[in-house]
């Protein structure tokens, strides 16, 4: 299977830089691995395949961060939540393009992608969520 990217976090973010939300799926048991990893934690298979998700879902839990680590202080207050994707898995991420006080559990959200690359290690581009 030459040419298939390894099932790693690094590959996940390489796909993000191509504006794709990609997850690993276990061919043996069907489990979706998000984050992708080289070994299915349920059936121990390494027979995996990449699947692209649309990245739409509902907000399951959120917080408004006021006290932030140094590299995020300029953005505070900002919203981070866990989104339950219609395609199955959950994914945490920032929620943007909506006022923090308007955010509600259960609201519809869809994934989008930053174009700018962070300057600090590991320089992974960030995905985020926004109202559709």
């Amino acid at each position: 299977m030459s040419g298939v990217p390894p099932f790693t976090v690094e590959s996940f973010y390489k796909f993000v830089s191509e504006r794709k939300l990609m997850v690993a799926k276990c061919v043996e048991c069907g489990f979706v691995l998000l984050p992708p990893r080289p070994l299915c934690p349920h059936c121990y298979s390494s027979n995996l395949t990449w699947v692209q998700l649309k990245g739409a879902g509902k907000l399951e839990a959120f917080t408004i961060i006021h006290v932030a680590p140094p590299q995020f202080q300029a953005m505070a207050p900002y919203v981070v939540g866990i989104v339950k994707l219609y395609e199955g898995p959950r994914l945490p991420g920032m929620i943007r393009n909506v006022e923090p006080q308007e955010v509600r559990v259960g609201m519809d959200l869809t994934v989008d992608f930053d174009t700018a690359l962070p300057s600090q290690w590991p320089m992974w581009p960030r995905y985020f969520f926004k109202p559709p």
């Binding site: 984050p35 917080t63 961060i65 590299q71 945490p92």
Partner: protein, 390 residues
């Protein structure tokens, strides 16, 4: 029928918790060791203690790793074998379990377990970043999540599913500050009102300043022996009769349920079964209230009430001294303080005091069976220990 002792606490020490200016981990640990040695005059530490297991979360705080031998040296134990354990905020709960393993293996008759953290010399932003290292880097830290943020996610999920209110969550803080005001070693020895807690500044909504444990310096230790020899060292032994530990996914989003910590439930089942104890048999418990919502979830995970009833349990006063199951008589992490590496054995120290009748103004009269629940990070590690008066 109660379980057999796994190991026995013959002595314990706790440094004053607080902002201990100019004192670093080594000096704080020496302070805790001093108390443990003073309580146990028949012990010759260097000769008798065969291993030290010490919980310490982060070398970032002091730019100091290799903490095991450092603390062994400052506690006067060199050349005793010394091992640092890192499981985030459960580091010393795990160190305690390692000590039990050492005793049960037969390789050591007497061990010291403990923990330490020096935190207050750093800025809040730096401390927030260092603590966040115990969460998932690629999917949590990288997207701006913090520890208050992770527990805030659990809080909004709990509020959504069960109708738990911000007021009920804040009542944990009011209760634990009431207890902490009775503890001369607590960091925050003052009561707070519900109004003050509710109006404090937001850290990670819905969690406010008074929902968060403070940044604290401190150290704790226990001296464990095999049960048969405990009375050579003390007339008031405390037996450890149950021990459980479990793990969960490092990232919160991979868990089936955001309103419960599965690792804590699994560890509790293991400890209860080993101890032959049911939740209703407990006289006291120290639980991991790093954030107020965590104590509410702990009530449910430990079986003190049904899932979803934790908010009502604190509201009706059941977990206050005088209630049916007093929780965090020490003041908990919230009021006593949370020097993260020191917390697990610090909880065991409070249980030890309660079961030996040494808890002074906060003594629960006749306490015979106690529990300590220590959580690492957002719940990827949990330990539960059950103790009984010897």
């Amino acid at each position: 029928m109660l379980g057999q002792p796994l190991a026995t606490i013959v002595s314990a020490g706790l440094s004053k918790f607080g902002a201990r200016e100019g004192l670093y981990a080594r000096e704080l640990f020496a302070e805790a060791a001093r108390e443990a040695y003073d309580r146990c005059p028949n012990l010759n530490p260097k000769r008798d203690i065969k291993a030290l297991f010490v919980g310490h979360k982060g070398e970032s705080f002091e730019h100091q790793g290799h903490t095991g031998p450092t603390l062994s040296d400052w506690a006067g134990l060199t050349p005793t074998q010394a091992t640092r354990i890192e499981n985030a905020c459960a580091s010393s709960g795990v160190a305690l379990r390692c000590g039990i393993f050492a005793i049960l293996s037969g390789m050591c008759d007497i061990v010291m377990v403990g923990g330490v953290e020096k935190m207050t010399h750093r800025t809040t932003a730096e401390t927030t970043e260092f603590l966040a290292m115990a969460s998932d880097f690629p999917f949590e830290q990288w997207h701006g999540l913090t520890f208050p943020g992770l527990y805030a996610l659990m809080a909004t999920a709990h509020m959504q599913r069960y109708g738990t209110t911000e007021e009920q969550i804040a009542m944990v803080s009011v209760k634990n500050h009431y207890h902490g005001a009775l503890n001369p070693k607590a960091h925050m020895q003052k009561e707070v009102t519900l109004e003050k807690a509710m109006s404090s500044r937001v850290i990670a909504w819905p969690l406010k300043l008074y929902d968060c444990s403070p940044i604290t310096d401190g150290a704790s230790c226990l001296i464990l022996t095999k049960p048969e020899i405990a009375r050579k060292f003390t007339d008031t032994p405390v037996h450890i009769i149950g021990s459980g530990q479990a793990s969960d996914t490092i990232a919160l989003h991979e868990r089936e349920d955001l309103t419960s910590l599965k690792a804590a439930k699994v560890a509790a089942q293991e400890a209860y079964k080993m101890a032959g104890v049911k939740p209703r048999d407990l006289d006291i418990a120290e639980v991991h209230d790093c954030f107020t919502i965590a104590e509410i979830i702990a009530y449910e995970d430990l079986g003190f009430c049904k899932p979803g009833d934790g908010g009502r349990l604190v509201e009706e006063g059941a977990t206050k001294i005088g209630g049916k199951i007093p929780v965090n008589t020490s003041g908990g992490l919230k009021s006593k303080g949370h020097p993260v590496g020191a917390t697990g054995t610090g909880q065991a120290y409070e249980v030890y005091l309660q079961l030996t009748g040494q808890a002074e103004r906060r003594q629960v009269s006749g306490a015979e069976i106690g529990l300590a629940h220590n959580v690492g990070g957002s719940g990827a590690t949990a330990t539960v220990h059950i103790f009984r008066r010897g």
